[in-house]
Symmetry: D4
């Protein structure tokens, strides 16, 4: 039973052409049989924007530049904010043809074009990164968080082997409402930082390293086993996901 059918049925009841009892049984039947159906009056994407706090995001990984440019154009036409992650230079070139206003942040491998206002986050999101090789993931997080309306403070190159550098940033760390910590290799930085602050820490293992780093497994396991409280973890290299969670928390 779609909207038009319901409209017609209720008109008939009002006109006495259908009695209340049989109308009731037909509506109940519809409710029982297809409570979950797409009712035709809601577009999936708008729904998502409402439910998830952010419009569709395009993960460029494994799509062709042409495919990505097509989806991007569609999103922009609809008036939504555009966010493409893991975008190469080739993707950026293809997107710019269709969406000339798009900006490509090469260090974050992100393409964006903001069209909608977002509510500002309530505090600061600090993004800490252990080494310079972790920066692409950290920047993916930083650009995503900014696009979602958050003030972002970058605290980079603070590996645990040089404690004085971390300790020297204690003031900035303490200013955060939520902290994203990006680290590869042994992934110890979230433990150390979570021991210094009293806010949620989102840990992002990176695939940086070689040999027994196993493309991020060592860092991932280190973070999951953190002896510090307040640390939760996202997938390896998932800067976008961490920013999304941090933004959710920062908008509470």
């Amino acid at each position: 039973m779609n909207g038009a059918e319901l409209h017609k049925l209720l008109e008939q009841v009002a006109r006495g052409e259908v009695d209340a009892a049989s109308a009731e049984s037909r509506v109940l039947e519809a409710l029982r049989a297809r409570p979950f159906e797409d009712l035709g009056f809601a577009r999936v994407d708008h729904h998502r924007s409402i439910r998830q706090g952010f419009p569709e995001v395009i993960l460029a990984l494994g799509k062709t530049p042409a495919q990505i440019a097509g989806i991007a154009a569609e999103i922009v036409e609809r008036g939504s904010t555009l966010l493409i992650t893991r975008a190469t230079e080739a993707v950026a070139n293809a997107v710019r043809v269709r969406v000339p206003q798009a900006t490509y942040y090469a260090d974050a491998a992100i393409i964006t074009f903001r069209q909608q206002d977002v509510a500002p986050g309530k505090g600061m999101i600090v993004i800490a990164a252990a080494g310079t090789s972790d920066l692409p993931v950290a920047e993916e997080a930083a650009r995503t968080a900014e696009l979602m309306g958050n003030a972002v403070e970058r605290v980079y190159d603070v590996g645990v082997a040089g404690l004085h550098r971390i300790l020297g940033e204690r003031a900035r760390l303490a200013s955060a409402r939520v902290i994203i910590v990006v680290a590869g290799m042994e992934g110890a930085l979230p433990s150390v930082i979570a021991g210094l602050v009293n806010v949620p820490v989102i840990a992002v293992p990176t695939s940086i390293g070689y040999g027994a780093s196993f493309a991020g497994i060592a860092a991932l396991l280190g973070m999951l086993n953190s002896c510090a409280s307040g640390v939760s973890v996202v997938n390896i290299d998932n800067g976008f996901g961490a920013a999304n969670i941090a933004s959710l928390i920062n908008h509470l």
Copy 2:
């Protein structure tokens, strides 16, 4: 909007107390706001029995005998058929106190008490097992399949290292509508059997073996990589799951 409210609303429309347009908007609102809610007229368990073709099953693993006996009594009281898998002797004793009619099949580690008629399966389910150590899993499958209304033929002790035994059972294998193959160690039996027949083969890796069998991983990988077509796989030691799938197929 529950059934009573709908009833009342439609009565009001019929009586002209509410016009069709506002009734429509209220019904639509209900549809939009709570399309997924429990509507109050369906019990979860009955639903499952209808949707899944089989009542609730109790996996005894990690529950105390007392807990299991309690749940079993509740199911039996409701008039449903009882099926408990991975049941130890201690579980059986506890259940018998509450459900004296229950039967314990020690070789299958299964407790059952049939209360509902089931539709008979259309053909034969053959259950093949590679070694005698695989029998508990094979029997879990066999008893489950029988309880679900299927004729079951057991073809046991037909490891691939003794081809003449498998080949000697070709007639029985050929009589099947669907075959469950239970094997540990290298897990090669499903490939060999699927090469001899033209019906779906459900492969069940078992945790039988030692050393590099890694508690069933070797068998699981062997089965997932089967070079024979027609083989799909369930979890290690999951005789119940295999029987469930085979029964679904046998009732088509």
Copy 3:
């Protein structure tokens, strides 16, 4: 002992040239020594076509275009239906030179040329896919199933994070006799769909994802541990295998 020798021996017995006892011992010897030998009256490939319900399939992975084109030409010459999976553009070009009638489905990476009639499946095979990146595997399954004589319904882009999309497709899912569910990342879609229907679900993990998806292991493990009944699993990215099983079931 081949047919001619048996013929000659029995003639000799009949003529009294060989006594029954020594004939018996010679026949017994032959039975003992070579019960498994190729008896000369069955060609391997025809056998397979009869036993397995489908002629030989060429897995292009790890073969050169020239090799594949050669095998394809041989199959077509024999009058069999051609099916090549995991075919690149280069393979397609090489095959077209030898088999000009062949069709290349780039989105499924499949090349086919149907020459034999197949019995139609009894119901609908629904192929559900979680994300757009899973489509190559889903299309491999879809094209294979169609070639095997099945009606196929595609239900794509129904990830578990957007339940309304899955629920909106409940009618189509309910129309299936067997469902193939293709999903990468966490591989949760088969559990959700199997909870909505009462038919066998063949789950195909895909290698889509990054980091801790471990090229499909996360999805594979998720599917093997499905809490829903009725789910069996095939190898990562094995769309062809899933279609083969689904077709077997659909032809029962």
Copy 4:
């Protein structure tokens, strides 16, 4: 230089017995040479209570009942709130001898004795669990969250194979400021729930399952690869850790 020495030095400066310049150089020396040393006027544990928002927690795993009882008595004597996780009945008996006021929650394997007031959390923490076997972990999270001053709503037995149960709880899920989702087996529940709400979801994989669940690895990988945004993950069975993070978020 400890507190007493500093006191004495400043008194001497005030009395003119030590001039400002040499006092300055002595204080600077202390700062340079031992900026990180235990200064003698701060107990480690108090520090932690201040920095981390919660007093010391005893993880009973791998400690003897006697050891645990000793540490518990010390904490209680100090006036701190007691929290022991993974406590067996034997541990509870030993602790009760030393801390008679302690309460043992067997279903959560937790022992507590609250002595300090905690600031109330700002919203509701919903704790969802997939199956009854996941309850010990869920209860560890629930009891911990309550002890930390949070209102907790339990939404149990909502596995993804029975979507209607999850959907029927949408109202309660929507009431949360942060959600903890506890699930074993395929670990798909966080993805489904995160798709329905717009708040942070902390996913806790459990070691529930058998075979290819690999003691929680399947669930862990499923959660790390969640296709829904807003999901971060803690260690397998780490209900306490999840509650700690959720409480941090709920107190922001």
Copy 5:
């Protein structure tokens, strides 16, 4: 068609009661229809004894003492040689009740009772073991090899960290026709020994070790990657299997 039927048929042909042509067609039919069937005149186990060079072996792992004693009694009654591996003291006690002549070698966890003569091997099998903890596996190999008719020389406690011990045994190693090398931990002994001799080396990784030995995986991988030629590997702790292969080679 079993032996009796064949006998009768050929008698009839000889007597002219059945003509050669119809006898031929009946024999051919039997061959075609059931080439692989158990023909009724050969017991499976005798077959195995003939084909595999050794009677049935009972792997005690995962069987009850009562079950094992029953199978043992049956084998002995048949006149076959008895061999039970991985036998505990409890198993030995149960077997002795049924087979009083059986001998239990506790250090090898083996029970045997020889009833059949075996052909003597052509040379010496040397069994080398790295450490004293590897002896149970080494002795399983040694006792098995002896039972199979081989002369066995034990060269124990020759770990690679004490090269002089290995080198001091060069004469005995050089006397071997085939060498079994049993080693846990890093599993380096086969490489070192294979570099000193010119005969086949069967490497048996053991589950001896702790931590990163992963119950034998480290040793298994070490052996599979041996830089010395002539090394092949069997499953972790599989002393029986190694002896079986060595005996096959020694009887060539």
Copy 6:
């Protein structure tokens, strides 16, 4: 003390220039102090040729064509037989410049130039391969075995899903003194073949497959867990190693 020094010393003793006692103490000193030293009169490679039954083999993997050509020229100049494994076309071209007589077997990725006579093996080495994709590894084994003086029989394309093909080759399998079985995917072929014969079976897992074949791990585990006796295993894709072992056995 090298050969020249020993020569001189003994001459001096013979001429009475050095007395027996001091000569003895000098020789003893040499023996004690440097029993393991390179004595200067034995080239390592000759030693190896004597001890290991085969001259040096060049594994091309990870070396440049120029490096390989250089080593090859050196070996050939010395009069030794040349064997290069895993050789690409580029390697072959580089080697031909330096060793024009070398033969490149592209299907085996092997380059050889025989210069030394080898003792003929005593029997036949049968090399069985499951699928056409396994042929490069099978041919590496076959060419190596032939170069080492063995008669080789190739039995290819006998996967376990088509038992009649394996059974049809029983006569050829039975003719072997040792069998090499090459298989990828589930690696079940060695079990099946070892069940049919009574000779040693060397199993070679190949990296053929995709998804859960994990580049040969599935086949490797399958082979290590073989339920058939007589199967030992070498590293994934190690056709050369298998041939080396088989040749050792065949020369006993």
Copy 7:
């Protein structure tokens, strides 16, 4: 509170403008609030050079040639010694433009330019390598150790399958104060060498090998499980790290 503020405060106390008690409380507050802050009198890099015994090292892996050249120029300008590891030819070209005096060791993939004197190590560092394919890692260690002021002795091509080669180098091994052992495949060399000497052995697994070497995991596990005492292990291919540790030991 910085130095100036402290100066002023103490002056005030001395002048009686601030009493001792309030000065004490302000100093204590400063101590409590910022015990870890960067005190402004130490540059990070100088610190590292002092604390770690070696200036900053650039790991080229995952950085662009331009980035590396920039960092290199900065280090050289500061007067520090330059060390770049894992440098390709392209990196070397880029660095030479900015730092013409830099030397590129292609076999070690290392670029260096020494500007600071280093204290000479007290003894010899011997670097042993199993095979020629391990040389890049061995050379990375050798060049690093030399740059750090150590005398280095290279003992290459001493695999465990040819013991006479290792034993022939016993004198050179015995001359070491610390030994670095570089090996791939089964990684057995450190065990053998540690059994011959009485000095610390640093084991470096390499990613050399194929199949079940799993890119160095087999060697890593072998080394971690070494039965010889005195062996500690670094990451796969980490020649630099091993040299760093060896140099620390050699400078004690």
Copy 8:
């Protein structure tokens, strides 16, 4: 050729009974044939004590109390120092019967009886441990190091989540000549400590933790991937091995 034979031969040469050439060839033959033989003048155990710096150590794991007591008695009788690791109370009781002077350190699971003087180490060995659960491994290291003649300083309970505790111990850490760091869970402590000091750090991962700690794998990987220089790693829980290496270094 033994000493007597050599003596006789040289006498014969001196007497002219054997000419130099044939003597040379006989000596050469002896050298070739047995360069590696045990020369009869060195006992294995004495050798080890000399070469390895420490007498035999008994790893109790997997041996019976009776076996261990027997070996212990033998070592003590020989006058050597006794060291048994991983000893349970039962082992201690059995050993005390045979070696009444032995001391059992339950917290270290170590039994010792010193009979030989050891050279004192040159500096201090600091043993740092992250948590109280790591103490058994730390104490195994501490007791071993002390028995080997080293001064040991214990720095326990300094987890990375409480940096102030580590920093407060900087003076003691700085006093070390070599540091052993024992840590489970994420294993980050070695990185942090190695960043603070300039001496070799031996990292010992422990099997402490649960879930994704995987019995020490997480800690092991963390340590292998340490971003700090100077860290090498031993097997999980191998406190003895770490102490052995540290003692070697401390005696240089």
